[in-house]
């Protein structure tokens, strides 16, 4: 099967700081890929290169290729808005827009030209149902999104990302700000989303990677150290560094 995303010899610099070094990886379609590694190893940077959000970081420079369905997303002719519709993103800290719950989910479709009210209603309801928020908020869709708990806010952000029908969903430590119960809910959600679309989740929580992912990539000091099916990687890591990291010797 062709990979959904193929990264080839990717190098990223922040100013003079070389963050990602000759990184190549093939990301399979409709699976969950977990990216693990110690803080500052370049996990989040890799994620941001996949939807070109990295270009918002001042002083960032990207070299190498990054193919989405075989097309390099760094081609000058690629429309950024369409790329970011296809490759959605969920951030570490829940970041609902200062709008109502309804408007948060409807914002993406509206930006991409959906005007029909009934269609928007339908999208909002579906997406909120997918993240399990519908029953909790259906009576207060017009209330501010800030009235929700942090865990609910993060699920709202996932619903918002899903509303534009992305093919890939990038998640940057989506549970690190949440309590254990909401973490459970979102982990389950990641598992089920992995059957519909390609999910790439960055996490510093090794157990979480084991629970939610089909494949795991271990990055250390900007290099891809080991990559394989999650079960295999956790049971019999080939690289000594990987073994030390997943057994908790450093992190």
């Amino acid at each position: 099967m062709d990979p959904k995303i193929e990264v080839r010899e990717l190098n990223v610099w922040y100013g003079n700081h070389h963050v990602l070094k000759d990184l190549s990886i093939k990301i399979p379609e409709r699976r969950v890929l977990a990216i693990i590694g110690p803080s500052g190893c370049g996990k989040s940077t890799l994620l941001m290169t996949l939807n070109r959000m990295i270009e918002l970081v001042e002083g960032a420079r990207v070299e190498g290729r990054c193919l989405l369905d075989g097309v390099d997303i760094y081609n000058p002719g690629i429309p950024l808005t369409e790329l970011r519709r296809r490759v959605g993103m969920v951030f570490q800290k829940p970041n609902p827009l200062p709008k109502s719950i309804y408007e948060n989910v409807a914002y993406g479709p509206k930006v991409h030209g959906v005007k029909d009210r009934r269609k928007l209603d339908e999208i909002v309801e579906n997406c909120l149902k997918v993240v399990g928020l519908w029953d909790e908020v259906k009576d207060r869709l017009n209330k501010s999104a800030f009235e929700l708990s942090v865990g609910q806010q993060q699920r709202l952000c996932i619903a918002r990302a899903l509303a534009v029908k992305p093919e890939v969903l990038l998640m940057d430590e989506p549970c690190s700000a949440l309590d254990p119960m909401n973490t459970r809910i979102i982990e389950k959600l990641i598992c089920s989303l992995g059957r519909e679309l390609t999910v790439v989740v960055v996490t510093h929580n090794i157990q979480q990677a084991a629970r939610v992912s089909d494949f795991t990539a271990f990055i250390y000091l900007g290099r891809l150290v080991e990559y394989g099916p999650t079960d295999r990687l956790f049971e019999s890591p080939v690289n000594r560094l990987t073994r030390d990291y997943i057994s908790g010797e450093f992190g």
């Binding site: 959000m53 970041n95 930006v111």
Partner: protein, 304 residues
């Protein structure tokens, strides 16, 4: 020995601190006292006017103080129409400049442009008055084929130049303070830069932008010299009332023109203080409204 020295030093610094504190407190409270005294003085001097004329002072439509007619309605109307005109011109100019300054200009360029715009606010108002008299009034005469160029519109144009910096400077500050995570959220959904600005940044910054407009309004209402030089100083409600090409007179200009020649303690004298009170009420309520709106300007709202 050393111990005692240290504690002595400490005591000394404590005492010095108290002195500094005391002096600063006195100075700070002095300014409050001055404001209160000004208000008290203005109000007390206006009491004879209000008690003998009552609401006629505010609603009477004939301002002819040398004939004993003290109806300030034409002045209030003149002030408001000139200021509304100025705000109408300055708001699109100021808000769009603020957006381009905060969102589109490279940071280095913005750091040069913003102080230059703010410098416009530092130009003495008499210079703006010159500008209105010498350039804008003749231009209006030519443009509209009227005989007198000093009109409400002339005053509005001059005032708009004076208040635009206030709007630009506060609005661009508020726009820049819209949290980055809001923008990131919208950009990650595929919104274009303009969509982010229109759909996320502006709505979030709106209370602050509105406050900047109100502050500019307050400044415009109180402006005197430039208005006096460019509005024509005819105390009559234009006909029709929305005709911006008629000369008008304003509260501030009337006070400034008459105060020099009025007899101390006469009715005219007290009436001028009455105008001052009306002005006070307008600017005070506008500033309070601006302050209330400012408190709703963006803050980090996410608790994590």
């Amino acid at each position: 020995m050393e111990e005692t020295l240290k504690s002595f030093d400490f005591l000394k610094s404590l005492r010095r601190m108290d002195w500094v504190k005391l002096i600063l407190m006195t100075i700070a409270s002095l300014s409050i006292v001055i404001v209160l005294l000004i208000a008290l003085f203005t109000i007390s001097e206006s009491i004879p006017a209000f008690s003998s004329l009552g609401l006629d002072l505010l609603l009477g439509d004939r301002w002819a103080p040398y004939y004993g007619r003290y109806g300030a309605a034409p002045l209030v109307y003149g002030s408001l129409i000139v200021v509304f005109g100025a705000v109408l011109i300055a708001v699109p100019l100021g808000v769009l400049s603020a957006i381009s300054l905060a969102e589109y200009m490279p940071r280095k360029l913005g750091e040069v442009v913003k102080p230059m715009i703010e410098l416009l606010a530092a130009i003495p108002s008499i210079i703006y008055g010159f500008l209105g008299m010498v350039f804008i009034a003749p231009a209006i005469t030519k443009l509209f084929g009227i005989s007198l160029g000093r009109t409400a519109l002339t005053g509005s144009i001059v005032l708009s130049m004076m208040i635009t910096p206030t709007i630009v400077s506060i609005s661009s500050e508020v726009i820049s303070s819209v949290p980055r995570e809001y923008r990131m959220a919208a950009i990650a959904l595929g919104a274009t830069k303009w969509q982010v600005i229109r759909g996320v940044v502006i709505p979030t910054a709106l209370p602050g932008i509105a406050a900047s407009i109100l502050l500019a309004f307050g400044r415009a209402v109180g402006e005197t010299v430039a208005v006096l030089m460019s509005c024509g100083c005819v105390a009559k409600i234009p006909s029709p009332p929305w005709n911006l090409l008629d000369p008008v007179h304003t509260l501030t200009a009337a006070i400034a023109l008459d105060m020099g020649e009025v007899a101390m303690g006469s009715m005219h004298y007290h009436v001028l203080f009455g105008l001052g009170v009306i002005l006070f009420v307008i600017t005070f309520s506008v500033n309070t409204a601006a302050w209330l709106l400012m408190r709703r300007a963006p803050r980090r709202l996410i608790k994590v």
